[in-house]
């Protein structure tokens, strides 16, 4: 507690004046969570603070569904748990590391595969580290492979590589640090109720451009809830400036304490017409996980931390059961947003729409 107080007290003096694309002088981390009107950077940090709620324990079940342009479908049932090393986002804003040292683990995640049978009992462990503009440390990954009966340390792939056959890249999963990007507030907008978005929602619209000129994305345009800072929608553009992917994220109060957390992800690769829907349920924050459970060798015995309930997973029967595609929001921020959907993809979308109407 004393360390945290000291950290908050000295936080501002310890933060470099200009950290990558951020003008930290205008960020005022000591005043987090700030008051409106927010700067674009502040909105980006607020969104980051919301995306991973600052709770110690996290436990859930998740069903990941992937459907490619030809209708090939994969469904993966998993159990997930997380142990976070901070319960206050200010521990991450404190770049000098009084409370949580830069380079120390900030988050440890386990994903345990239940189905398909081919991947049963395969377990992925990741340690994500606290980074600052001066201290960078990539995520460490380990995988338990039943066919080897071995826990293998993995080298993290390219940040632009897809993970496990899906369309989300390492950066999409691990997340980008807010100080990795420059942010511009494009304006405000109301997202319509569509796809997995349950009701119209007022958002700030932020343009984020990576500070690395060789980065695989040209830019991201992000719709962030004005009240709760949920990143409802994210559009990723390629280096040419064409729309590449649309991600939707739904967060709702979860667990006994009704903490805002993820319940639905829906991603659409516009170019490839690849869809990925992740349904997250049974979310709790009341666990009491121990550090040892997140040690690589602890994975070895194919033993889940609670009895899995395969019957509870909301498997779908066909791609028709997927949510509607996210809307393209034509006419909004036209100078920043352009897309060229391949003819083949257009044809497939049209075909699916007709089939839906027919059904």
């Amino acid at each position: 507690m004393l360390k945290r107080l000291l950290g908050l007290l000295f936080a501002q003096a310890m933060i470099p004046a200009l950290a990558f694309g951020l003008d930290m002088k205008t960020l005022h981390p000591e005043a987090f969570p700030w008051k409106p009107p927010y700067t674009a950077d502040q909105i980006a940090f607020l969104e980051d603070a919301t995306y991973f709620p600052a709770v110690k324990n996290y436990d859930c079940d998740a069903l990941e569904i992937e459907v490619d342009a030809r209708g090939y479908m994969r469904q993966r049932a998993t159990m997930r748990k997380r142990l976070q090393q901070y319960e206050d986002y200010r521990d991450l804003l404190d770049f000098k590391g009084v409370t949580l040292k830069p380079g120390a683990p900030k988050r440890k995640d386990i994903i345990f595969m239940l189905t398909p049978p081919q991947l049963k009992n395969q377990t992925l462990l990741s340690w994500t580290y606290k980074e600052t503009p001066d201290v960078r440390k990539m995520v460490d990954w380990w995988i338990y492979i039943p066919a080897l009966r071995q826990v293998r340390r993995l080298a993290t792939g390219e940040r632009s590589d897809g993970v496990a056959g899906g369309d989300m890249t390492y950066d999409d999963i691990v997340g980008r640090e807010p100080f990795d990007e420059t942010h511009t507030l494009l304006g405000e907008d109301t997202l319509p109720a569509d796809g997995i978005i349950p009701e119209p929602v007022g958002c700030y619209v932020i343009k984020a451009v990576h500070t690395d000129p060789g980065y695989y994305l040209g830019k991201r345009i992000v719709w962030i809830d004005k009240k709760r800072f949920i990143r409802w929608r994210e559009e990723q553009y390629d280096k040419k400036g064409d729309l590449w992917k649309i991600f939707e994220r739904r967060m709702e109060p979860q667990g006994k304490d009704a903490i805002l957390d993820h319940t639905n992800w829906y991603d659409w690769n516009v170019k490839k017409h690849f869809r990925q829907w992740v349904r997250i349920f049974n979310v709790t924050h009341e666990g009491n996980f121990k550090e040892t459970e997140f040690e690589p060798n602890f994975l070895r015995k194919e033993f889940t931390w609670r009895v899995p309930d395969i019957g509870a997973y909301p498997y779908i029967k066909s791609p028709k059961d997927l949510p509607k595609l996210p809307p393209l929001l034509e006419g909004r921020f036209p100078s920043e947003r352009k897309w060229e959907i391949p003819e083949e993809t257009k044809r497939l979308i049209e075909k699916e729409r007709k089939e839906d109407k027919g059904a």
């Binding site: 090939y72 049978p117 080897l148 340390r153 080298a155 390219e158 040892t292 602890f298």
Partner: protein
């Protein structure tokens, strides 16, 4: 029959043809039927798991057919000629049943049944490889069929597993250094392989043991008590396709009789137990472990007693009988004349295995690398020597240190590259030592270079995956190359096309299989 270029061409054409064929499946209505194919899953495993909480089922049905590129695989080897288009048509059923009685307690049974129909469908194969052991044809013992069975109990930081099981201490791929607890079944394939249809869990021979693992903060302490020793199986089994080139023909011509005592496993007594301990820790990004295993060496030492005929007045045996009765290297006999009677008395001997493992990741050149190290000091192993004396019985004891360093990273779009170097040094080396079971002169230092490439193809959403393993051994200059591709027809069905190619001298570790080049075709249904 084919030179190096021919082997490469055949493998390349088959890989390309297969990949093209797999792609062509897409786009047809047939494709959807294949994707939905899961009759046994829908009828058995899914409904059972849905209706019985805590029940976990998994089954693997697979066929792995290996076609031989060369008709006579034993040409240039001192083994009987073969005439077979196949190296095996393996049908495998692997059933895994687990029941979670409570959050802390789980029971697991693993049944496996293997049937090689090459014996039924291929005359050449049957005539060439019908050995004395039915087990090469099909699994017929309870030990094989009830491959693993154990109970897990977990409370707090303690993980307890009791029963017939597997324990892997290894970190690096390709060669077992710290993965030293179990014997190895050489009849599947004589080395750990990149072929996903022959995972190393099928090659290890499970053992009954008490396995207690205790975790405290970032420390791990593991204790193994193994009352039942299971040796390796296969390299000297007559009739196995992968029998090592162990019978020196020159010796056949010159000695007259070999007789064997039975290789009895150590009696199941408390004194004959094996004991293993591991201490692991995570410090400053390093995952470090120390290991010790007091065990039996996984293959028997064939102690020799050479008896002169005139002493025992034994008549010489016909050569044909000798060929049939001899099944181990007896190189020392080349130097003996007149003909002798060699009595072999196989015995398992105790060894001490000390291990050190370490790995960590680091960021360099804008990417992450994984560095892994394994070292094993083996104390008390016997090496066969050419110079027999009545005192040494043809063997010398020596210690060895085997180390391996592996570096792993990704390059451009999911190309995993794993580079590995290993080195073995023999302390107290004697120039007369022989490399068993091949029987070529043993080097004091032996090195191997391994290069593995893995590439899932993004345009197929990783349904198509390419793997390649290339190994070079400095000791005998031999090479091994294994390319393969798998294509995920559905989440339940996978097809495989691969190959295994060898180069080197007939007496070398890889060279002995220079005519065992083959093409692997596989189909797997997991439900």
């Amino acid at each position: 029959m084919f030179g190096a270029a021919g082997k490469g061409l055949i493998a390349g054409v088959l890989l390309a043809g297969w990949a093209g064929g797999a792609m062509a499946l897409d786009g047809a209505d047939f494709r959807r039927k294949i994707e939905e194919f899961d009759p046994l899953g829908k009828a058995i495993t899914q409904p059972l798991q849905m209706s019985v909480p805590g029940l976990e089922l998994k089954a693997n049905l697979q066929n792995l057919t290996s076609l031989s590129i060369h008709k006579d695989m034993n040409q240039n080897r001192n083994l009987p000629s073969t005439s077979s288009n196949f190296q095996g048509i393996h049908w495998l059923m692997d059933l895994q049943t687990a029941y979670r009685m409570s959050p802390d307690l789980k029971f697991t049974v693993r049944n496996m049944f293997l049937y090689d129909s090459a014996y039924d469908w291929n005359d050449g194969f049957r005539n060439s490889f019908y050995g004395s052991m039915d087990t090469l044809h099909y699994y017929n013992s309870m030990d094989q069929i009830f491959r693993e069975w154990y109970a897990d109990y977990q409370v707090g930081g303690l993980q307890l597993r009791v029963g017939k099981q597997q324990v892997s201490w290894g970190r690096v791929d390709g060669r077992q250094i710290l993965d030293m607890v179990h014997g190895f079944d050489y009849t599947w394939y004589p080395f750990p392989t990149i072929n996903p249809f022959i995972p190393v869990e099928y090659q290890r021979i499970p053992e009954f043991m008490v396995n207690a693992d205790y975790f405290f903060k970032d420390y791990e302490f593991q204790f193994l008590w193994i009352p039942n020793f299971e040796p390796s199986f296969g390299p000297t089994v007559s009739g196995s396709v992968w029998e090592f080139n162990q019978r020196a023909s020159s010796a056949m011509d010159r000695f007259s009789r070999v007789s064997f005592a039975k290789a009895d496993k150590p009696a199941r007594t408390f004194e004959n137990s094996q004991i293993g301990v591991k201490l692991g820790m995570m410090k400053s990004g390093w995952d470090v472990s120390l290991h010790y295993l007091w065990s039996w060496y996984d293959m028997p030492t064939m102690f020799q007693n050479v008896l002169l005929f005139d002493r025992f007045n034994l008549p010489p045996m016909p050569k044909s009988s000798l060929a049939a009765s001899s099944s181990l290297n007896t190189g020392f006999i080349r130097d003996l004349w007149p003909p002798v009677h060699v009595h072999l008395n196989p015995k398992y001997n105790r060894v001490h295995k000390f291990g050190l493992g370490a790995d960590r990741s680091f960021d360099w050149l804008g990417r992450q690398w994984a560095l892994k190290f394994e070292g094993r000091y083996l104390k008390g192993r016997y090496y066969q020597v050419r110079n027999y004396t009545p005192e040494n019985h043809g063997w010398d004891k020596a210690d060895s240190l085997l180390t391996g360093v592996q570096l792993e990273t990704y390059f451009y779009k999911d190309w995993t590259n794993i580079l590995r170097w290993d080195h073995e040094h023999i302390f107290g080396y004697d120039g007369d030592m022989l490399d068993l079971p091949v029987g070529s002169p043993l080097n004091r230092n032996q090195e191997g270079i391994y290069w593995t490439v893995l590439k899932p193809f993004g345009f197929t959403n990783d349904r198509l995956t390419f793997r390649s393993l290339w190994i070079w051994l400095s000791g005998d200059g031999g090479f091994r190359y294994e390319p393969n591709m798998t294509y995920e027809l559905s989440e339940k069905l996978t097809v495989l096309l691969g190959g295994h190619l060898y180069w080197g001298k007939p007496g070398g570790v890889f060279g002995q299989f220079a005519r065992h080049d083959g093409v692997d075709l596989g189909l797997q249904y997991v439900f």
